[in-house]
Symmetry: C2
Subunit: 327 residues, 2 copies
């Protein structure tokens, strides 16, 4: 099968990657669309030292599984895989299990390929009203919703998102679901155009002088984002850290103590509510798609996705579920 | 009066510092004992750019006040002073008011002097059963208790304190008040002797391989403490940041996101419960006193307090409340 891989020689498009074998608790999924995420870009620079097929944002159709009820279903999959329901599973969950694998990130081949192998326990059926182009956002939308599991988002208190990219926008949309007032911060006027069109208050990072925010989310993916976020957070406020990046941050942490700011690391979230939000059309996702590339052009897609201001680049891999590719 | 000051020329003992004038809402307090805190040591290195009389940990006797009920009372004082009960006061409180002054730290002369001026609103009477030598710990004990206002401390979950100094030990004592299991981490065997005598599990920072902790407090006062604390915190656990220090920390923040650790800056706490803990003798404080110096020898006291392994150095300034100095 075709697969886009991170190897010791860097990114490689492989025409003859072996189709994965599946176990009894797994499904073989034919991939329809996959998204390029900033984590993929970081991995391509060496983050986590991952080797194998890239990609953890995807929508596909179950092609093979021992459980017949899944066959032919259009699915998305949560990305943290745990083999055994041991004590750590019950204590820490899939997301923090010390021996977890993470789709396309840690020890398990990802979805930028014709087929991907995923545990049945991670599958979720996509509601009929949700398009493939929306469903591929299930993973990042779940990550945005994760914040709602971690702290109270009081819709009567001002919130800010630093970083107007794909994840930042989705977080902004989630934060205002209950009527919250959300300001999106960016480093260029161009990056703030779509946020403004979506009805957000917007502001350039460097020009802001005004009130502090009760909740600030750093979704920039770079170390300077945290410093900006600290500056914007009101005393005893909450700062959600969504950025991961290679290397260290050199920052003055004293304001965290003096202003008693609560910093909360935030990673993967719940897929089922993400799919329900999409089915309700609460969240406008497809406007974030900048381009769709064929899998053979994945390297161009990565190049495109790494340009400033680009939000979401997709890879088209298979025909849609109701098309000729259906088994 | 005598006063120990931070000036543009560095630390100065001044024999002729003016006795402060007081307003209608203030008290003139005759100081009995003052403690040297690591914040004082940082100020002496230039932290916060403070100039004036040092010292924010003290016990004294009210010598002059328009409110006669305070006269002659033995008191401690909380350290964040706010002049006006404006909107910011009700929204943010004394501790985070943008125009607050902080005793001996920010814009208000401190207590390493014969007399100190403090707002009546900040005074607390010291219970009779609490000695001067214990009462001087009111401020740091309140700071330790602050953690109890910020997160649930589940006594059935393991907790750790990194930094076996004065504040770290008090935090350890607070964390185990409900039967919690607390491990104190230090960098030398000598520093762990008193913690072990007080019944704590102890461990050298570099030699630890074992379970992660649900709650970890960084009370080291240096940037490496945070890195250690991140390493010790279990996924989705809480890391309380008590350290302030001059300059920046260069740390890898990715584990905060991947392990979804919650970092909570923590500063000043409630004095009334601190005094009640002391009156109940729940907290063994006097064993932390390494030395008591006369005010004239304050510079030697600072020198002593900055040595590794030293926990608490006090300055004796006035005679005790029942002694000849009482008015």
């Amino acid at each position: 099968m075709r697969a886009f891989c991170m190897t010791n020689r860097g990114l490689v498009f492989d025409k003859n990657y072996p189709v994965p074998d599946i176990g009894t608790d797994e499904a073989l999924v034919r991939v329809l669309l996959a998204g390029v995420c900033s984590t993929d870009l970081e991995i391509s620079k060496g983050y986590f030292g991952f080797r194998g097929v890239l990609g953890h944002e995807f929508v596909g159709v179950v092609e093979r599984a021992d459980s017949p009820e899944w066959l032919g279903k259009r699915i998305v999959s949560s990305i943290n895989f745990v083999q055994d329901r041991d004590a750590d599973f019950y204590r820490l969950g899939r997301e923090h299990h010390p021996r977890r694998k993470v789709l396309g990130i840690l020890g398990h081949d990802g979805a930028m390929a014709d087929y991907v192998r995923v545990p049945l326990a991670n599958l979720l059926e996509v509601p009929e009203s949700v398009s493939d182009r929306a469903a591929v956002f299930a993973e990042p939308l779940a990550a945005a919703l994760r914040i709602r599991q971690q702290i109270i988002i009081d819709p009567d208190k001002p919130a800010a998102v630093v970083g107007p990219g794909r994840l930042g926008l989705m977080i902004g949309l989630v934060l205002r679901q209950a009527g919250g007032q959300v300001t999106i911060f960016g480093r260029s006027e161009a990056s703030l155009q779509l946020p403004a069109e979506l009805g957000f208050a917007t502001c350039l990072v460097d020009s802001y002088v005004g009130q502090h925010f009760d909740v600030v989310v750093d979704a920039t993916g770079n170390p300077s984002g945290l410093e900006t976020a600290i500056r914007l957070t009101r005393p005893t406020g909450a700062l959600i850290l969504k950025s991961t990046y290679t290397g260290c941050a050199n920052i003055d942490l004293t304001p965290l103590v003096v202003n008693e700011i609560q910093v909360i690391g935030s990673r993967c979230g719940p897929f089922a509510p993400a799919l329900r939000c999409m089915a309700d059309q609460q969240i406008e996702l497809e406007r974030m798609i900048d381009a769709v590339y064929e899998l053979e052009k994945a390297e161009d897609a990565f190049q495109h996705a790494s340009q400033p201001g680009v939000r979401k680049v997709l890879l088209r891999i298979g025909e849609s579920a109701s098309g000729p590719g259906t088994k």
